[in-house]
C-alpha cells in the first residue's frame, strides 16, 4: 500500500454530462491534499467515489489499499467523512451525539476530550438543532474524527464560517495533520488550501489540469513579481533591483509600495481561463472551463 489514495483513468457520466473524464491522482500517507475546482468540475463526484458513496464507470481506484466500490466495515472504520451539508440528528444533544457515534468504532476518541478540542464543551448539553452554523460544522468535524480515522475527507468544511471560526478550524485540522492523519480537502477558498495543503490539484472538466505545492503551482514562485507604488507599477524578474532604484528616485521611503508574486488565486483563475471553452451540454449555472489539452 504505497499511496493512501491512487486513482487512474477515473470516469463517471451522468446522462449527457461527463462529470469525470479520465482523472489521475496520487495522495500520500500523512499528506494534506486539497482538491480545487469550480462547481461542476467533477471534484465532488470524484471525492464521493473515493468515499465509497458512488460507483464509478471506469478506472482504477484504491483507497487505503481497498476498492471503495466495495466498502467493508473495517475499511469504513479507518475513514472519516465530513459531508458538505448535514442537518440530521437535530434532537440529540452534542454530548449524546458524540457518545452515540463513538459506539461504531473499535477505539474511539474520548467524546469529552474531543468536545474540548473542537471548542464545544460549553454547548455539550445543547441540542444540535439549537447550535449556530459554525458550531454544527464543528460537530460534523468531531463526528468525522471520532473513530481516529487514518484518512479524513473534508468537503467544503468552512463554508459559511466567519474569519475567526475559520482560523480556529484551520488550527484543528493542522493538529490532526500533525498527528499523521491523511486529509483530503475540497474547498472554494484558495487561502484555505494555501494554509492547510501540502499539495493541491486543480480539477477542471473532469480532469486534473495542474497539481503541486500551492507555493509553486503553475510556476507561481518563478513568475514575475509585480511592484506597485503610488505613481505606477511594473512587472519584473528582479524586484529587489526595482525597489532599490525606486528608493533612490524617492530619496528614501517609496509611497504605497507593495511587491507581490501571483497569489494562488491568480494562478488558479489563469489555469481555468486558459482552458478551452466548453463543448456544450454543461449546465449554464456551473462555471465551465475547458480541459488543458
Amino acid at each position: 500500500m504505497k499511496h493512501a489514495i491512487r486513482v487512474r483513468g477515473l470516469t463517471k457520466r451522468y446522462g449527457e454530462v461527463q462529470a469525470v473524464a479520465g482523472l489521475d491522482l496520487d495522495i500520500e500517507h500523512g499528506e494534506v491534499f486539497a482538491v480545487l475546482g469550480p462547481n461542476g468540475a467533477g471534484k465532488s463526484t470524484t471525492v464521493e467515489i473515493l468515499e465509497g458513496y458512488r460507483k464509478r464507470d471506469a478506472g482504477e481506484v484504491t483507497v487505503l489499499g481497498q476498492d471503495p466500490a466495495r466498502p467493508t466495515r473495517e475499511w469504513r472504520s479507518r475513514i472519516g467523512i465530513v459531508l458538505q451539508t448535514a442537518d440530521d440528528r437535530a434532537e440529540l444533544t452534542v454530548r449524546e451525539t458524540l457518545r452515540h457515534f463513538a459506539a461504531y468504532y473499535a477505539d474511539p476518541r474520548d467524546p469529552d476530550e474531543l468536545m474540548e478540542q473542537v471548542g464545544l464543551t460549553e454547548s455539550a448539553g445543547k441540542r444540535i438543532r439549537q447550535l449556530s452554523g459554525g458550531q454544527r460544522r464543528r460537530v460534523d468535524v468531531a463526528l468525522g474524527v471520532i473513530g481516529r480515522p487514518e484518512l479524513l475527507f473534508l468537503d467544503e468544511p468552512t463554508t459559511g464560517f466567519d474569519p475567526e471560526a475559520r482560523r480556529r478550524f484551520w488550527e484543528l485540522i493542522e493538529g490532526l495533520a500533525h498527528d499523521g492523519t491523511t486529509i483530503v480537502l475540497t474547498t472554494h477558498y484558495l487561502e484555505e488550501a494555501e494554509r492547510l495543503a501540502d499539495r493541491v490539484a486543480v480539477v477542471a472538466r473532469g480532469r486534473v489540469v495542474a497539481e503541486g505545492d500551492p507555493a509553486t503551482l503553475g510556476g507561481r514562485a518563478s513568475a514575475k513579481a509585480r511592484v506597485s507604488w503610488s505613481d505606477g507599477e511594473l512587472e519584473t524578474d528582479n524586484p529587489t533591483a526595482a525597489v532599490l532604484e525606486l528608493s533612490r528616485r524617492y530619496d528614501g521611503e517609496i509611497p504605497a509600495l507593495s511587491v507581490a508574486r501571483p497569489t494562488l488565486e491568480d494562478v488558479y483563475l489563469r489555469l481555468i481561463d486558459s482552458a478551452d471553452p466548453p463543448a456544450g451540454g454543461v449546465p449554464e449555472t456551473a462555471v465551465t472551463i475547458g480541459s488543458a489539452s
Binding site: W75, R76, Y104
Partner: protein, 280 residues
C-alpha cells in the same frame, strides 16, 4: 441491504463492536429521538384516545344480541390503527425525512451494518406501540368499562397478532418511505393510503357495514386482519357471530400478515434507497 461482510484485513487494534451492540445503540438513539419530538409524541398517543372517546360517545349501544360493547369493538380497531399508524405512517415519514436531511447518507459512511438501522427503527416502533396500547387499554378499562380477557390463550393471540402486525407494518413503512419524492411530501403521500385503509378495515366503521367489493379490497391489506385479530382478543367467542364469516379466522390472519411481512422484506431489499433523489 444485508450486513456488510466481515473485515478481511485483520487489524492489530481492538475488533469493531459487534453488530448486535450497534443495533442496540441504534435502538436506543431512535427511541430517544422519537420521544424528544414532544408534539409528535403527544399527538401520536392522543389520536387513538380521542377516537375512542368520540366513538364511545356517538355509538353508546352495544351490538345487538351479543353483549359486545362499543368499547370492545373500538379498542380492538384502534389498537390495529395505532400499530399501523406508528409502524407504517410514522416510520415511513420518518425514514423519508432521514433520507432528506442527510441521516442516511451519514450512516452509510459509518462502519455500521446496514441492518442495524432497520432494527433500531423497528425497536423504536415497538416501544412506542406498546406504550400506546397500554394507555389506550387503561383508558378503555377505567372509563368505558372494557373488561380485559382473563384467558391466557387470548393474550397469546394478542401477542402474536401484535408482533406480526408491528413487524409487517414497519417493513411496509420502510418500503413506502421511498415513494415520496421528498421528505416534505412524505406526510401527504403516506397518510392517504393509511386513512383510506382505516375506513375500510373496520377501524372506524364495522366491516359488516361495508359493500362486498370494499371488503374484498380491504382483505388484501394487513390492517383488516390485524383489527380482526384484536377483536378476537377483546370481544371473545360471543363476538365471533358479528364477523362476516362468523369466525375470527385466526389461521388466515397469521397467513396474511406473514405474507405481508415477507413481501415487505423483499420490497425493502430490492427498492430501498440510501440516497435522496437530489444525491443522484
Amino acid at each position: 441491504m444485508t450486513a456488510t461482510p466481515a473485515a478481511v484485513v485483520p487489524r492489530a487494534a481492538a475488533p469493531l463492536p459487534s453488530p448486535l451492540r450497534i443495533a442496540l445503540a441504534r435502538a436506543a438513539v431512535e427511541t430517544k429521538v422519537l420521544f424528544r419530538e414532544r408534539d409528535a409524541v403527544v399527538f401520536t398517543f392522543a389520536l387513538p384516545i380521542v377516537f375512542l372517546v368520540l366513538f364511545a360517545s356517538i355509538f353508546s349501544d352495544s351490538a345487538e344480541g351479543t353483549g359486545v360493547t362499543v368499547a370492545q369493538l373500538y379498542t380492538a380497531g384502534l389498537i390495529g390503527s395505532g400499530v399501523m399508524g406508528t409502524g407504517f405512517q410514522n416510520l415511513g415519514i420518518g425514514i423519508a425525512g432521514d433520507r432528506e436531511d442527510g441521516t442516511l447518507k451519514r450512516l452509510v459512511g459509518l462502519p455500521m451494518p446496514r441492518a442495524a438501522y432497520f432494527i433500531g427503527k423497528i425497536a423504536s416502533v415497538l416501544v412506542m406501540t406498546v406504550l400506546q396500547v397500554a394507555i389506550l387499554l387503561a383508558i378503555a378499562v377505567l372509563f368505558y368499562g372494557l373488561e380485559l380477557p382473563a384467558e391466557v390463550s387470548a393474550w397469546a393471540t394478542f401477542a402474536w397478532v401484535f408482533v406480526l402486525g408491528v413487524s409487517a407494518a414497519s417493513v411496509l413503512g420502510i418500503a413506502i418511505s421511498g415513494l415520496p419524492r421528498s421528505g416534505k411530501s412524505a406526510t401527504a403521500v403516506i397518510t392517504l393510503p393509511f386513512v383510506v385503509l382505516q375506513f375500510v378495515s373496520g377501524v372506524f366503521i364495522p366491516i359488516t357495514a361495508l359493500p362486498d367489493w370494499l371488503v374484498n379490497v380491504a382483505s388484501i391489506f394487513p390492517l383488516k386482519w390485524m383489527c380482526q385479530g384484536f377483536r378476537s382478543v377483546f370481544q371473545g367467542d360471543a363476538g365471533a357471530a358479528l364477523e362476516l364469516t362468523g369466525s375470527y379466522e385466526l389461521g388466515k390472519i397469521a397467513l396474511v400478515l406473514a405474507a405481508w411481512l415477507v413481501g415487505g422484506l423483499v420490497l425493502c431489499a430490492t427498492t430501498f434507497r440510501w440516497k435522496g433523489r437530489r444525491d443522484g
